[in-house]
């Protein structure tokens, strides 16, 4: 069985989650703690990519990231590469599409932590940045795990938008979801079952590991 699509998907999911955590953490923090009047509209905006069917989102991304698009055009001019049909394009699409799964749990986690621990840290001389990294983030750990799990799993399983933007180029943009889909479509049920089962077992074991390691109980005193 050709495992390249599996590696592509794992890479894509990992990079996507990494990018999402880097972008989503400050965004979630701002949504949880900010006092701007833009907070609520932005909060509503974050959930919107979810509402569009993946292939339709993919279609709009094709326009946006295409060589004539408002993002893809400048990108092409600067880098000389097109964004569509590239791994980078897939990452951008996945990031947009999985954004709410990362931002919303994080936002809730930061809200639950609240401002009090940060006040306390400030009284010990921690700058807001320091307190954010050493206090707020560890206390929001549950939110990070949920964000990571949802973001990773959604990217693994995502398919419609990635297919559109990636063009299913073997070895480059053909992710495992596309491969399984093809097996099903071509009646190669055996291969489809095998890949699906592999994906499920792998994911289950990974999640089991994460949840066990994580304990998920710290801070809850019963």
């Amino acid at each position: 069985m050709n495992l390249t699509p599996v590696w592509i998907s794992l890479q894509l999911a990992s990079v996507t989650v990494a990018v999402l955590l880097v972008l989503g953490t400050p965004l979630a923090w701002w949504l949880a703690m900010g006092r701007s009047r833009w907070r609520v509209p932005v909060d509503a905006l974050v959930a919107l990519p979810l509402v569009l069917p993946p292939t339709v989102l993919g279609f709009y991304m094709l326009i946006l990231l295409g060589p004539d698009g408002p993002v893809g055009g400048p990108w092409l001019a600067v880098t000389g590469n097109t964004l569509t049909f590239s791994f980078t394009g897939l990452v951008i699409t996945s990031v947009l599409y999985s954004l709410p799964f990362v931002v919303q749990p994080l936002r809730d986690a930061f809200s639950s932590v609240g401002g009090r621990p940060l006040e306390t840290a400030a009284m010990l001389g921690a700058s807001p940045r320091d307190a954010f990294l050493t206090i707020a983030c560890p206390l929001a750990r549950r939110g990070f795990v949920t964000a990571g799990v949802l973001g990773f799993a959604h990217t693994l399983g995502e398919f419609g938008a990635i297919l559109m933007v990636g063009g299913s180029i073997p070895g480059e943009t053909r992710a495992v979801a596309i491969a399984i889909f093809e097996h099903v479509e071509t009646l190669e049920y055996g291969a489809a079952h095998a890949l699906s089962a592999g994906l499920l077992v792998f994911s289950f074991v990974a999640l089991l590991g994460i949840y066990t390691l994580n304990g998920r109980r710290v801070g809850v005193s019963v």
């Binding site: 297919l163 479509e185 071509t186």
Partner: protein, 233 residues
């Protein structure tokens, strides 16, 4: 009750026109569900409530017949599709057809997934037969079906696409020149239809298949870029 027709998505637009004509001539209403041929096949094997299945290929209807889900004597070829090479505006088409395509002019070529879509398979055959496959392989992007392959072209993400000729007649077709790929380069894309065993309205279904083979339908099919049926079929 309306006749429930499952149709391969590349044929959805023609079918909507055919349905109007069918209704006008008193054939009754059609209820249309579109999907990929493979999906529709899987649904049918799992009890989908369709009366007629218009596939994009011949294999799936044949399988349904073999499995006893469709009747052998109600199995027809309703259309024969052609492949066209489409180029973005500003890109000249090769004078000598696909064989003369200069690879350096192609930034990306969109085709449907050959494993899934008959037009994809035809496109691949044509590229191989004209010796272009090796030169273009790394620039080929695949849509899940012809429709998606066409979207790549419509959104400006590919310079060329090999798609169904039916798009050339489409009202909303994007700009750009196109030319028919010589049918010698690929096996004909025959699209078969079957009436499903489980139908409650066999007569109506039969009437619809008859209509599909009739002159009114043939005209519409030609308008959409499908070739008339050979008599041999």
């Amino acid at each position: 009750a309306p006749l429930h027709v499952a149709v391969a998505s590349n044929f959805l637009t023609p079918l909507e026109t055919l349905a109007d004509a069918f209704a006008e001539q008193g054939g009754g209403e059609l209820l249309i569900s579109a999907g990929a041929t493979g999906q529709l096949y899987t649904q049918i094997t799992n009890g989908a409530p369709y009366d007629v299945f218009l596939a994009a290929d011949q294999a799936r209807p044949q399988r349904l017949v073999d499995e006893g889900l469709a009747r052998a004597d109600r199995h027809i070829t309703y259309a024969r599709g052609q492949l066209v090479l489409w180029a973005r505006p500003g890109i000249a088409l090769p004078a000598k057809g696909l064989a003369g395509l200069r690879p350096e002019l192609v930034t990306r070529l969109a085709i449907a997934n050959p494993a899934l879509a008959p037009y994809g398979r035809a496109a691949r055959e044509a590229l191989e037969a004209t010796g272009q496959w090796a030169a273009l392989e790394d620039r080929i992007v695949q849509g899940q079906n012809v429709g998606q392959a066409f979207q790549y072209l419509a959104t400006g993400n590919v310079s060329h696409a090999l798609v169904a000729a039916s798009y050339t007649r489409h009202d909303n077709r994007p700009a750009g020149a196109h030319q028919v790929v010589d049918t010698d380069w690929h096996a004909p894309v025959r699209q078969d239809a079957v009436i499903l065993e489980r139908t409650d309205s066999p007569d109506q279904a039969l009437a619809f298949l008859a209509f599909m083979q009739g002159p009114a339908a043939t005209g519409i099919l030609q308008d959409f870029g499908y070739q008339p049926m050979d008599e041999s079929q």
